[in-house]
């Protein structure tokens, strides 16, 4: 099999869109092609990228999770309140938040699997619940002033003249880890198998229940991690953070070539989708356009990729 044939067509299209977008922006705007823009692109959206990794796995397994934005918002205010108002060390607050997020995801996954309810319905209820709980914690923004936060924000890797920040490093490390798990471990193969055809997976004797719960639990973990990354980026927590973020996250994953019907997709694609998303926002920023243009552009791109997927999927 030749190399070209083995590469996914949608993945190639995604890569082409990224090159065209970034290339034309570099020609159009002065200073666009610089390490600063690229490092901004990563640090401003690292939390979104982390969340997209969990979402990729969920969509690969044939499900969807609409609660990520709400869980991220909950985590930011939860962590901020623990640190700022209860004097809990971040090294304790972070694991607690990650545990809560993971348990929350696992609970939703269990309800989806064992009660055979549609994933979008359960996670929409999960969205409401998490968002309401965020307002239960506190109704306004909470500032974080903490030595650990200052220390962590100084951890960087030099990148040309610019620097790659801590949250971006976390995103890239997690990306590498989960890509390895998805491609080279039994768990990853099970996820692809379930997404491709759940009934066949059951008949093959694969551990469908535990895999599905694990996938949603991992996504809950990613949401909590993304929430922590958000507190690091903004030095505060707010219950209204990340409203509607789930749509951006799903858009990133789909633009990255992962089929919404499950079973087909890749984490390298999600990275490309993430870069396209960031590039579109950088372009609207450079061109002084409103954020509405970026939203519409991402919606249009999402539509284009869904249509492309529809064309490529045999019926």
């Amino acid at each position: 099999m030749s190399l070209i044939a083995r590469l996914n067509v949608t993945l190639l299209t995604t890569a082409a869109v990224l090159v065209v977008l970034f290339g034309s922006a570099s020609l159009w705007f002065e200073n666009f092609f610089s390490p600063f823009v690229i490092s901004d692109l990563f640090s401003e959206n690292a939390f979104l990228g982390i969340s997209a990794l969990g979402m990729t796995l969920v969509i690969l397994s044939g499900g969807i999770d609409l609660s990520v934005g709400a869980v991220i918002g909950f985590t930011t205010i939860f962590v901020a309140t623990l640190i700022a108002e209860h004097d809990v060390s971040p090294w304790l607050a972070w694991p607690i938040a990650l545990g809560v997020g993971t348990a929350y995801g696992a609970a939703m996954g269990a309800i989806i699997h064992f009660f055979k309810l549609p994933a979008f319905l359960v996670t929409l209820a999960g969205l409401f619940f998490a968002r309401g709980m965020a307002f239960c914690v506190t109704q306004q923004s909470v500032q974080i002033r903490n030595e650990t936060y200052e220390m962590v924000s100084e951890i960087t890797i030099p990148f040309g003249e610019a620097e790659i920040g801590f949250t971006s490093i976390v995103f890239l490390v997690l990306l590498a880890a989960i890509a390895w798990v998805a491609n080279f471990s039994p768990l990853g193969r099970n996820v692809f198998a379930i997404g491709g055809d759940e009934e066949s997976a059951v008949l093959m004797g694969l551990p469908v229940a535990s895999t599905k719960v694990a996938v949603y639990a991992f996504n809950g973990f990613c949401s909590a991690l993304a929430g922590i990354a958000m507190t690091l980026y903004m030095d505060s927590g707010n219950p209204i953070n990340a409203i509607g973020l789930e749509l951006d996250v799903i858009a990133v994953v789909v633009i990255g070539g992962t089929l919404l019907s499950g079973g087909v997709g890749s984490f390298s694609g999600t990275l490309l989708g993430f870069l396209i998303y960031g590039t579109i926002y950088q372009i609207t920023y450079f061109a002084n356009l409103g954020s509405s243009i970026a939203t519409i552009a991402i919606g249009a791109l999402l539509l284009a990729f869904i249509l492309l997927q529809q064309l490529l999927t045999p019926r």
């Binding site: 969807i64 309800i111 064992f114 009660f115 055979k116 309810l117 549609p118 979008f120 319905l121 359960v122 929409l124 209820a125 999960g126 969205l127 409401f128 619940f129 968002r131 309401g132 709980m133 307002f135 239960c136 109704q139 219950p239 409203i243 509607g244 749509l247 951006d248 799903i250 858009a251 919404l260 019907s261 409103g290 954020s291 509405s292 243009i293 970026a294 939203t295 519409i296 991402i298 919606g299 249009a300 999402l302 539509l303 869904i306 249509l307 529809q310 019926r315």
Partner: protein, 356 residues
């Protein structure tokens, strides 16, 4: 669904109508209020208009009712429309912008808003019916970009409609009284009656149910399933537009970010509680209306108890999840095992085995 229902019928000798559980929930909630908040049932008459918590529930609930009516038909075809919240925002923004920036008047503004909603619904319908994209995914696109479109139309900000422009028509739609009742109630009731007549007195309802139950069999019977699907999405768009106009008229501000936020879940919930299954097929408009009123009663009750409006989603989510769990096959199985005795399980599993 029908299998479970027929089993129920043989065992109890009585089959509850689809709206039964929603009605039961509403009655229960009202009973709780009867004991704990006696003022809930007080209705005052001022200047010939009725006021009181119950009137308030119907008034505020009318947006939910309008959205639920549109959503019912979409769900009945086996689809779902996640974009209604965004369409509410788009329609509100269009009406407000046409009204404030042009001299064309309220009639043109409302027509433009409804046209925008119509186009949005048609876009969803084409994606689902002709391009065969899964409804959740197809309507997700408009859910994502719809907010951006509404923001773009409104110029990245909330648009306030000045009082002199809103009076008399827009103000009347949102806050006026007709026959002593707030006008939104009249709109919702009229929409319900007209839709019910159209759906049940013509063959439209049957066509929708047949497409939802089995699209390919319907096609074999000569039903144009694409046109049926397109029409229900257009109708849902129209309902969302109507809801957007009521919302704008009520508060006098078009807020592209928050108008209709999360109202798609409320609508889906109302439809589910009302006894229409997400898998499509048989549907109940009356049930959906009762479901929407149940949700609004729940919210008003919570506010009366002093629960902050931001925290109110928590009990709402719990109720939604409970209702879904009660409707899930697994829980139904448990109930059967507890209440149905040994024999019915056997016949049930035999039937299942035969049908599969």
């Amino acid at each position: 669904m029908t299998k479970a229902e027929s089993q129920q019928k043989t065992r109890f000798g009585w089959q509850p109508p689809p709206a039964f559980y929603a009605l039961l929930g509403l009655a229960g909630l009202l009973l709780v209020n009867w004991f704990f908040i006696p003022s809930f049932f007080e209705i005052q008459v001022r200047d010939g208009n009725f006021y009181g918590s119950l009137i308030d529930v119907c008034n505020r609930g009318s947006i939910g009712v309008v959205l639920a009516i549109g959503m019912t038909l979409v769900v009945a075809t086996g689809g779902v429309d996640l974009s209604v919240g965004s369409v509410v925002a788009i329609c509100g923004a269009v009406v407000a912008i046409v009204l404030t920036t042009t001299q064309m008047g309220i009639v043109v503004a409302i027509a433009a808003g409804l046209l925008a909603a119509f186009i949005a619904g048609a876009a969803n319908g084409v994606l689902v019916a002709w391009l065969k994209i899964e409804p959740i995914i197809a309507t997700l696109v408009l859910m994502v970009s719809g907010r951006g479109i509404a923001k773009y139309i409104a110029g990245e900000q909330t648009v306030a409609v000045p009082a002199e422009l809103a009076r008399p028509t827009l103000d009347f739609i949102g806050n006026g009284h007709f026959l002593g009742l707030p006008f939104p109630i009249t709109i919702a009731t009229a929409l319900f009656v007209v839709t019910l007549l159209f759906v049940r007195r013509t063959s439209i309802g049957l066509l929708v149910e047949s497409v939802g139950a089995n699209p390919s069999a319907s096609r074999a019977c000569g039903i144009n399933d694409r046109v049926v699907k397109l029409s229900v999405y257009v109708f849902a768009g129209f309902c969302a537009g109507l809801a957007g106009i009521i919302d704008l008229a009520n508060i006098g501000i078009a807020d592209p970010t928050n108008a209709g936020a999360l109202s798609e879940l409320d609508a889906i919930f109302a439809v589910l509680v009302g006894g229409t299954a997400l898998t499509g097929g048989r549907f109940s408009l009356t049930g959906a209306v009762i479901g929407a009123l149940l949700l609004q009663t729940l919210m008003t009750t919570l506010y009366t108890w002093g629960v902050p409006s931001d925290v109110a989603p928590v009990p709402k989510a719990v109720v939604i999840l409970l209702v879904c769990l009660l409707q899930s096959p697994a829980v139904r199985g448990w109930f059967k095992r507890i209440f149905g005795g040994h024999r019915s399980i056997q016949t049930g599993s035999v039937k299942k085995a035969v049908s599969s």
